[in-house]
């Protein structure tokens, strides 16, 4: 099965540039099913968390207004090749995704 997280990392000196793409519908909760007319319930990522060697480097809090299949990029200092980057998300109905990769 395809992982719901894709990450691209780039090290320049001790700065790690992180780009991430998440597979998620990000339903707003105000959209109607075109066939049945019923409201599609909200289903969206609430938190996206990055840790590097166990240290939290980013907590992103999302509303339903982050685009479908969310993209998020940021950078942090104090990184070196071989560090373990952990990326995880949780959504409003308790589904989760996680990915671990080493910086290079």
């Amino acid at each position: 099965m395809t992982n719901t997280i894709k990450v691209k990392t780039k090290l320049s000196g001790d700065v790690a540039q992180i780009k991430s793409l998440l597979l998620h519908p990000m339903e707003t909760g105000s959209r109607k099913d075109p066939d049945s007319g019923a409201i599609i319930p909200a289903h969206h990522i609430t938190q996206l968390i990055f840790t590097n060697n166990g240290k939290q480097v980013m907590v992103a809090n999302f509303s339903t207004a982050v685009s479908k299949n969310p993209y998020f990029g940021f950078s942090f200092k104090g990184a070196k090749a071989g560090d373990t980057l952990n990326v995880s998300w949780v959504d409003n109905i308790g589904e989760k995704g996680e990915l671990e990769t080493s910086l290079k």
Binding site: T2, N69, Y71
Partner: protein, 279 residues
């Protein structure tokens, strides 16, 4: 003397008639490219592969942001794993697509001189499956789009090289059918493909700029932000036909395959840059 001039004129006239009556695919393509070059002298030929982003800077900037990490990468990944699957007879897709090391996207649609049919990449995928005892995938469905995305990705940078064999009248007939479709006005709005994408290219339709036809097929399939999913070239055709308020044809119908054949031939020489990302 007069006789010589007369004969000369007759020959000249006859050759002009001959030329216009028998303008073949290569002449069509040269004229097509020349048209866009005269409309947009500043745009290099290779840029047409980028579609609307060749001519709309603000949109281009946003597209480049999306390309930083394009959502079609999920489809490419899914396609890669489908590509590696073994059929029960031990074969896989690479057995059907012979020169797949250099990509194959650039060769489709292909005219099959055995069956007399235009074979698009989607058709070829299903023919391969059927040959190895597998079911036909739904055109425009997730799996065939993922495979198409992966194949396009592996073919990136290869110039399109569509062949209209001149020793097969059926091939030329298919090409001509596509050309006729392209220039025929249809629907309640009475518009042809060419009305928007040749005659009015670069102008606004409400808030959208009309893209150039040259390069239209190079980047498919595309991830459409509007739908949040992948879209095939034929689904895009159907969208355009619906937009002029005509009844769309079936995906992979004879009509759309002929249109793709003509349109991709026009884009010969441009590089495969699919899958793409579009608004």
């Amino acid at each position: 003397m007069i006789r010589a001039i007369t004969i000369g004129l007759i020959i000249l006239f006859a050759s002009m008639v001959f030329q216009s009556a028998y303008a073949g695919p290569p002449e069509d393509r040269r004229a097509f490219i020349a048209y866009f070059e005269s409309r947009f002298p500043a745009i290099p030929f290779a840029e047409y592969a980028n579609g609307i982003y060749a001519i709309d800077q603000d949109a281009r900037d946003q597209w480049l942001e999306i390309e930083e990490f394009p959502p079609y990468e999920f489809a490419v990944e899914q396609g890669a794993s489908l590509w590696q699957e073994r059929f029960p007879d031990g074969k896989s897709y690479s057995d059907c697509f012979k020169n797949s090391k250099n990509g194959v996207r650039q060769n489709y649609p292909e005219f099959d001189t055995r069956t007399g049919e235009v074979v698009t990449l989607a058709k070829a995928i299903n023919l391969c499956r059927n040959k190895h005892g597998q079911n036909t995938l739904e055109f425009g469905g997730e799996k065939i789009l993922a495979l198409s995305a992966f194949i396009a990705f592996e073919s990136r940078g290869e110039p399109f090289n569509i062949n209209v064999p001149n020793d097969d009248v059926r091939a030329l007939a298919a090409y001509e059918e596509g050309k006729r479709f392209y220039y025929t006005k249809r629907g309640q709005l009475n518009l042809s493909c060419a009305d928007c994408h040749v005659v009015s290219v670069g102008q606004y339709v409400r808030a959208d700029h009309l893209s150039a036809s040259l390069g239209h097929p190079t980047h498919f399939p595309v991830y459409r932000s509007k739908f949040g999913s992948m879209l095939s070239l034929h689904q895009r055709f159907a969208g355009c036909v619906r937009d002029v308020r005509a009844k769309p044809f079936e995906l992979q119908s004879t009509e759309y395959r002929a249109l793709e054949y003509f349109l991709t031939y026009m884009s010969n020489g441009l590089e495969v840059n699919g899958p793409g990302a579009r608004k």
